[in-house]
Symmetry: C2
DNA sequence: AGGTAGGGAGAACGTTCTTTCTACTTTGAG
DNA sequence: CTCAAAGTAGAAAGAACGTTCTCCCTACCT
């Protein structure tokens, strides 16, 4: 795509994630991306469209990470561990500010809003993916364990930017091992 | 306290929690609380002060709930269960919109900001409280289990307004039972 | 050669935001 | 009775917001 559009989306993503959706104004994005107003409105219908594009990109990146982790695993339990390790690693990154999607719903509470719906869709995919993965480990139904995994993930992502992320990541991986242990025993 | 101040804080809390901190303007609060601008600025230094008062009230209410649950329990494990049941019950409430504190940090990312610091302080109290409670169950060190409990809580609170809260609450209580089981065995 | 898409530069729109101000009224305690 | 605190009412300042607009330039495609 166009260079200006890339700069725009990249800058917007960085600012939105780092400082919040409502805290960052269009002027800020324009100035830091070195793109003019007219160009932005040529590529995006408005600020909300930019937010949706930011979330779509985050969704794409997450799916890619999960797929890569799963593909590299040699068995089903290790596939779950790979997803868990990906999350534990993610929260250690410098500049980690929590889950982009959970942060977004905090600012767009209305369930009918496109931003809220995009978050719901992403979360449904993640829950389904994790539940499918867990269903392949052992024979028990995986719905409860899938919700359990997502719950741990959400908690780890939320706490990762509010406390020392090292112990948080360890606690998370340990808890996921507990889920796997219960399914294989 | 003064009646106008109560109406102001009550209305602000309802709107802040339900729609977000930055989404709600002072005009909205003034109109719904039926309080004039001058009165508000007599009681609060500004909007940020109102946000801090809202969080302080939420902090007070949470501590009271936890204390009440713990006081009513007949043994240490039941005290933990009481806190867990309180959380599971909380996410079922009509109009539940997630954790007020996690939602607040999503909008105030700067760690030096008073709002962010108020959230940190609340979370530190909760982690310490839960860890102390868990330390009384069994003999093992409780730091990891304390973090594990808080992680589950954060996840349950985050997911509670994005999916059917019933199964979320059940999954949460089940997971807490797992922690207790591991400490007593 | 000419048309079209993409981008730069900047003025301007109307709205909303938080905050401050003046002026008048009510109320309760000393 | 009086004074001060707390409330009502509304104007207004000044900034920031998202959006729309016009005008001009460049590059590419046919």
């Amino acid at each position: 795509m166009s260079d200006a559009r890339n700069r725009l989306l990249g800058t917007a993503s960085r600012l939105f994630y780092g400082e919040g959706l409502h805290s960052v104004g269009v002027d800020r994005i324009l100035a830091e991306a070195k793109v003019t107003r007219a160009t932005m409105y040529r590529h995006f219908a408005g600020k909300e469209d930019l937010v949706l594009a930011y979330l779509a990109e985050a969704d794409r990146a997450t799916r890619q990470n999960v797929d890569a982790g799963v593909a590299a695993a040699t068995n089903d339990a290790d596939a779950v561990r790979a997803v868990a390790r990906g999350i534990a690693g993610h929260i250690q990154i410098e500049g980690f500010r929590g889950c982009a999607f959970l942060n977004a719903v905090a600012e767009y509470a209305d369930p009918a809003h496109p931003v809220h719906r995009a978050v719901q869709a992403h979360r449904q995919w993640f829950l389904d993916t994790v539940t499918d993965l867990l269903a392949r480990v052992g024979n028990a139904p995986a719905e409860l364990d899938g919700r359990h995994f997502v719950m741990l993930r959400d908690g780890a992502m939320a706490a990762g930017c509010l406390a020392d992320p090292g112990p948080i990541g360890d606690t998370f991986c340990e808890a996921v091992e507990g889920i796997l242990r219960a399914r294989t025993s």
